[in-house]
């Protein structure tokens, strides 16, 4: 039993959510992180504000942007043809989420971004996809690039009375993708992830390329790939991109899964595997 007393609310609108939020409340999305944390009394909110009844699990495509409600689960992503078509990287990511079908049915993308855990899959993948968070608060609704939300491990720029209601991202259907994560065993959290997107022009040269690493620092690490733009993706470009990845790492993350020097060591191979996957798929 959760040791501390709390009030439970499940407002039926975004306005209702915002009105219920204050310094002593905690948002509840899928619950896979918040509920056990409350059980251990590491989080002791006076009020739990559940997003489930606010209608935030829609998936749609608007002007070739993929729009995902914050309460979409990994299972929702896997079941969506729009996700498969417009952001296939997300499908690959969701397939490999630790915890089996039970977790995929419950854990949400909004919860994962808001929790800002370094070793979660979603933050770095969303940064790679150039996702923008739709944030509602007392002053109204505004949009923030997901890359700008993270301040550190478990810390975001969101105020106590703000809520992520969804995400929007440009179509990446003309890009190939690579997604790789390193973990110790089937039930382990990821130690390091790499998400990459690659788009070639008609002449077969890199027109757009991105690589974002998760788990290796407190917040998703975006690697500068401008050096390979305008060039065809060959071995030399692959090496250059991997070199950029290791050079970008400045403060490797340490937790119970792995010390920072381990993460620093695995950064290059994890990046290389993801890039190789995206490179290989350009032939399709």
């Amino acid at each position: 039993m959760i040791p501390t007393r709390f009030e439970y609310l499940a407002p039926r609108s975004v306005a209702g959510l915002v009105a219920a939020l204050d310094e002593e409340s905690r948002l509840l999305a899928g619950g896979t992180w918040v509920v056990p944390e409350m059980g251990r009394a590491e989080s002791r909110p006076r009020r739990v504000v559940d997003l489930r009844r606010a209608g935030l699990a829609r998936i749609s495509v608007e002007r070739s942007r993929l729009c995902l409600g914050a309460m979409c689960t990994y299972s929702d992503l896997l079941a969506s043809e729009d996700v498969a078509r417009y952001a296939p990287l997300l499908r690959t990511m969701a397939t490999g989420v630790t915890g089996g079908a039970a977790l995929r049915n419950q854990a949400t993308i909004g919860g994962s971004v808001a929790a800002a855990r370094p070793q979660s899959d979603v933050p770095a993948a969303f940064v790679a996809l150039r996702a923008v968070a739709v944030v509602s608060g007392p002053a109204g609704t505004h949009r923030v690039p997901v890359a700008e939300l993270f301040l550190g491990a478990g810390r975001t720029t969101l105020a106590a009375d703000e809520v992520i209601t969804g995400f929007e991202m440009p179509s990446s259907r003309t890009s190939t993708h690579g997604y790789v994560k390193l973990k110790r065993g089937g039930s382990s959290w990821p130690i390091a992830t790499a998400a990459t997107l690659l788009r070639l022009d008609d002449a077969g040269r890199c027109e757009d390329a991105c690589l974002v690493l998760g788990g290796v620092e407190e917040v998703p690490l975006t690697v500068d790939l401008t050096a390979i733009l305008g060039r065809p993706p060959g071995d030399e470009e692959l090496d250059a991109a991997v070199t950029q990845a290791t050079a970008a790492l400045s403060a490797p993350w340490t937790d119970v899964l792995a010390p920072g020097d381990y993460r620093a060591t695995v950064t290059a191979p994890v990046a290389r595997r993801a890039l190789t996957m995206a490179w290989a798929n350009t032939g399709e």
Partner: protein, 165 residues
Amino acid sequence: MDDDLTVLELTVNGNRRTATVDRRELLVEALRTRFGITGPKIGCLTGDCGACTVRLDGLITKSCLHIAVAEDRAEIETLESMSVGGLTGLQESFWDNNAFQCGYCLSGMLFSAAELLERDPKPNEDEIRQAISGNLCRCTGYDAIVTAIKRYADRGSATVEDVAQ
């Protein structure tokens, strides 16, 4: 009534029931202590082990990760729902292949396997291992569980006798 107590209505294994619960209780705790349904076990309370797995409104989930009152009026199926009128073929296959000892993991293993087989009646070994990956078993070493699911899938609607041969 105590401030922390409230009435929770659930449809559990087809029966609509109500019970007074503490609003701080987890779903698995309410099921076990207030509704007397002990198929779902309390294991890790962190979502790792799968011992508390139930179907909630049709989807398998770990009931230790839910606040009970949040699930008011939900439909819950527990391990007990599988064996009304005898064991299912999948359960028989677990029995025949020594796929459990203490039984703690069975809610997770059986619901995960059933969910997989609904999606894909002929999974390969990798797919089976993926499907049960959110569940811990400390008795079997997993191989017997994989074998039980594989043999059941390969036989389709095999009888006990078929699987045992």
